[in-house]
């Protein structure tokens, strides 16, 4: 082991809480479930759905383990509700819910957004999940990234849905001018790079 990597290993935290954040439908729950499958006990963190605001509460899963030659990391991953500036119950009606159920779901969704923002104070690092197929990308990503920066929380930007033909991870990179990791939470591509990045931000 080189001196550098030994230093790195020593300074690395062994238990880290990582929040999975982003706009509704970016694929946060799909990613959280995949991490649970690949590194945890396989228990799903939540339901994946094309209907927005399926996730309306934060859900944590402890003891996901990722390792490299420097050692291993005990991760707690937190799936969060999508953050947005508007909740329109009519959108749920378009997905076939009754008016009453739509309003109920919308009420829960507004509370979910608040919980997601509050969760920012409880994480050691964050994965911001951006839907790479939806240019020019939701303003909300900037709000989330800016708030994480203000709290000095390390950020990993994951350009999700890179399996889709219309996905443009390069544009995500240009837009956010940071190292981004193209992934597909659905088919699993890019996950090793993502785990590598989690290990490296945890070695602060």
């Amino acid at each position: 082991m080189s001196i550098l990597s030994r230093l790195f290993a020593r300074s690395r935290k062994t238990q880290v809480t990582i929040g999975i954040l982003g706009a509704p439908n970016a694929g946060k729950t799909t990613l959280a479930n995949r991490i649970s499958n690949e590194c945890g006990n396989g228990e799903p963190l939540g339901v994946v759905s094309p209907v927005p605001h399926e996730t309306r509460d934060c859900k944590a899963l402890e003891h996901c383990v990722i390792s490299d030659h420097n050692g291993s990391l005990d991760l707690t991953i937190v799936d969060t509700p999508g953050i947005t500036t508007s909740i329109d119950y009519r959108e749920f009606q378009q997905h076939g819910l009754s008016r009453q159920d739509s309003i109920q779901r919308a009420k829960e969704a507004t509370r979910g957004v608040i919980k997601a923002i509050q969760s920012l104070d409880k994480m050691d690092a964050a994965i911001v999940v951006v839907d790479a197929a939806r240019a020019p990308f939701d303003q909300i990503n900037w709000t989330v990234i800016g708030n994480l920066e203000a709290r000095k929380i390390p950020i990993i930007v994951a350009a999700n849905k890179s399996d889709l033909a219309e996905a443009d991870p390069e544009l995500v990179k240009e837009t956010f001018q940071s190292d981004i990791i193209p992934i597909s939470a659905k088919d699993g591509s890019g996950m090793n790079e993502l785990y590598g990045s989690i290990l490296s931000v945890s070695g602060m």
Partner: protein, 102 residues
């Protein structure tokens, strides 16, 4: 529906704290006004505005807002975003109004 656009100068917002800014914005949005903010909002103010908006959405008339910082995204990378000069905030209920960066 009448459309009004208010240009909010830094002079107006300078004296406001974050809570006052949020209250001001939401009260204007509720009167169907589109706001153009000189100086824009910082990320923490944006987060505060989201939280306050979520408590005030009534699932009838007020459904939240659309927001855009029309600075070319490419020039507003991760670390120099504070240079943003303007933010546009519009009521969500304007179904036929879209604000977009093209």
């Amino acid at each position: 529906m009448d459309l009004r656009i208010n240009f909010v100068t830094e002079h107006t917002t300078r004296k406001m704290n974050s809570t006052q800014k949020c209250d001001y914005i939401i009260s204007k949005l509720k009167t169907d006004c589109v706001l153009v903010f000189e100086g824009g909002l910082n990320p923490e103010e944006e987060a505060a505005l989201i939280q306050e908006t979520m408590t005030q959405i009534d699932h009838q008339k007020f459904l939240g807002y659309k927001i855009l910082n029309p600075t070319p995204l490419r020039m507003s990378g991760l670390f120099n975003r504070r240079n943003l000069k303007m933010t546009v905030i519009a009521p969500h209920n304007y179904e036929h109004l879209s604000i977009a960066l093209v």
